[in-house]
């Protein structure tokens, strides 16, 4: 082996060891567990081959959670993209108080999730929440409504709360991309008579392709893995309407006490995410000549 190669391996070895410890070993343990029928963590189980895989893929809970996860990703992608672009484009313009606003919006991302949950639960309460009072006073509602009382309302409320939390973070990333676009292109397009929408479609979006690609990939994976907000607000309810795959894995492991089944779900989920990532990179990655 060449000296340079040895040095190279030496330099990357700490990272390789770290990755092995925190990713490869846990995946291996989960993979091994998925072939047993261990119930409570720390106890032993019997080898059952691929029974867990057959059982779970056919189960309605897994199918429903997968569908919920799909809608969760789509809902968040639409809302967060809309909110993030609105915020980023607004801040990108020069106006008094721009700096204060840029700092202010990040608050929703900085404050701990538990605080976010407590605030939103209080604001959306039907007996003492400000949102219900406001909607009733504005004449939009006759009576107070329960924002988490039906499957659809709970799902939409959660998507909006999660989007409120994460959109400013995405907005800052988009904003950094916007700042890198040469202003002269916009000025030239103005001279040519382009309006805001034409500028957005033909200048802004193409110049943000690298940022959008990263956001699309990382944002989807992050959205998929959101657990805290859903668990703390609805615990997957009502009637399992907001149970996504991460919640199903947690429930299976720690309330149903089926550790092996939870490990199986984790392996299936990891596989699905891997497939998504490979397809996304293959088909959505910006090409050099774009």
């Amino acid at each position: 082996m060449k000296k340079n190669n040895i040095e190279g391996w030496l330099f990357v070895s700490p990272l390789l060891i770290w990755i092995s410890l925190i990713i490869i070993i846990p995946i291996y343990i989960a993979f091994e567990l998925s072939f047993f029928n261990v119930k409570i963590i720390g106890t032993s189980g019997k080898f059952i081959g691929i029974d867990n895989y057959f059982k779970l893929i056919k189960s309605t809970k897994f199918i429903n959670a997968s569908i919920n996860s799909f809608y969760w990703i789509i809902g968040n992608a639409i809302c967060q993209t809309f909110f993030a672009f609105t915020i980023a484009l607004t801040i990108n313009y020069r106006f008094p108080g721009k700096k204060i606003m840029a700092n202010w919006i990040i608050l929703s991302f900085i404050i701990p999730t538990v605080v976010v949950v407590v605030i939103w639960k209080l604001m959306l309460s039907s007996s003492s929440g400000i949102v219900n009072s406001l909607l009733i006073n504005l004449g939009i509602l006759d009576n107070a409504t329960g924002f988490f009382s039906t499957p659809n309302k709970a799902f939409v409320s959660l998507v909006l709360i999660n989007s409120w939390r994460w959109s400013p973070f995405l907005a800052l990333i988009i904003l950094s991309g916007l700042n890198s676009i040469n202003r002269e292109i916009y000025d030239a397009s103005k001279v040519d008579g382009a309006n805001f929408i034409q500028q957005f479609i033909h200048i802004t979006i193409p110049n943000l392709k690298n940022v959008l690609f990263v956001l699309g990939l990382v944002g989807t994976l992050l959205s998929f893995n959101i657990f805290d907000i859903i668990w703390l607000i609805t615990k997957g309810g009502p009637s399992n309407a907001t149970t996504t795959l991460p919640l199903l894995i947690y429930e299976t492991a720690f309330t149903k006490f089926r550790i092996s089944q939870a490990a199986t779900l984790s392996i299936i989920t990891s596989f699905l995410l891997l497939i998504f990532s490979l397809f996304f990179i293959k088909f959505m990655a910006p090409k050099e000549n774009d």
């Binding site: 409570i40 963590i41 720390g42 106890t43 639960k121 959306l124 309460s125 039907s126 007996s127 003492s128 009576n143 107070a144 409504t145 329960g146 924002f147 988490f148 009382s149 039906t150 499957p151 709970a154 607000i233 609805t234 615990k235 997957g236 309810g237 009502p238 009637s239 309407a241 947690y250 429930e251 492991a253 720690f254 309330t255 149903k256 006490f257």
Partner: protein, 423 residues
Amino acid sequence: MNKILLFIISILFSFNALAVTNVTFWHMEGVPHRVDRIQTLIDEFNSANPDINVTQEVQNWGEIYAKAPASVAAGTAPEILVGIPDFTPILAEMGAAQPVEDFVAELDSKYGFYQKALDQYTYNGHTWAVPLWNMALSVWYRKSDFEKAGISPPKTWSDLKKAAKTLTKDGVYGIGLPGNKQLYTDQTIYSFMVNSGAEEIYNSDGTLRFDNPETVAAYDVYKELYQYSAPDAANWTWGEAEACFASKGCAMILQFTVISTYDSQAGGDADDLGVIQIPYANGKAHRAGTVSYVNSAMIMTEDPAKMEASKKFLSYLMEPGNYGRFINMEPGLFLPITEAGSKDSTYWDDPVVVKYKSQVETMLDNSTRGSLFGFTNGNTFTSISSISAQNLLAQTLQLTLIDGKSPSDAVTEGMEIMSEAIE
């Protein structure tokens, strides 16, 4: 010479430090004044027992079902863990919770446990935990609301439906009932099941008997009453119900206690605060009862020294003079489970208990008719942990409240889900 002397003293101190037995006490009473009261008792105990060092670590109910088994697997379990009956079988099955029948018998001979308290922890030939205190669900209301409406406090389900309907007006919900898939909802629906004669979930052979007309009747009346509850009750836990009652948004609620919030946030007029037992199904006065939870302490160590130290600490807590102060960490919530404890002056002399004495006496009386699903009439099977941990009583309720199925269909489906859960 001085250095040698210092070295010897250090060594001696080290040995002395090694002789101290450490006991970690996990509980879920995270409210600051409860933590303070427990700490006071721990400090007193540690001062009186220099060879033992007890420390408390506060956990929460939301995570403990996951955290405790994980801590056992990781070898970091506490020596003492406070729990409720349906949590004990999991840890007993893992071999973590130690049998304590001899120790409980010793405490029983001194302080006299109420038999119902022991029933919830005695099965498979052992007693698995030391009962600490009881909690029983009651109906809470304001007497003035009923006087204004010209109705009497309800005794039967018909009375309750009438009261809920009458009291629902002008932004006030007649009754606050949860519909969440959570422990609170398990408790409220089970309290109706008890009052219709459906307290047994299991047959004596371990098969389920959940799907029966009495259970359906309980789910049916719950569904009727739910229309008078707040729209966001599908997401409620204990706190939201208490807040609704304190803010006069709910005329009645089912709760273990409201005394603390009522006293601090709702004016604290003790004469106006009413508490009654859960109404029973028409014609079933003999079935009157409620859901009750005996909280307990599991000893989770096999180390003889740590086990002895843990028993010594628990004996200290159960001693009259300490016991009243211990369960009055939240006055008016935790009820005594020993005869000696019921007479402990440190329990009855607390200012809050003095102020709400009649309410506390009613709570105590209600608790004597308490049952808990899966721990009734000796029909206790460890698989109840799976039903309880997944809140399947509440999930069944959601099938009718949220999904719109008939109570009968919901109960049938609920039993199928339970059967799968206990496989």
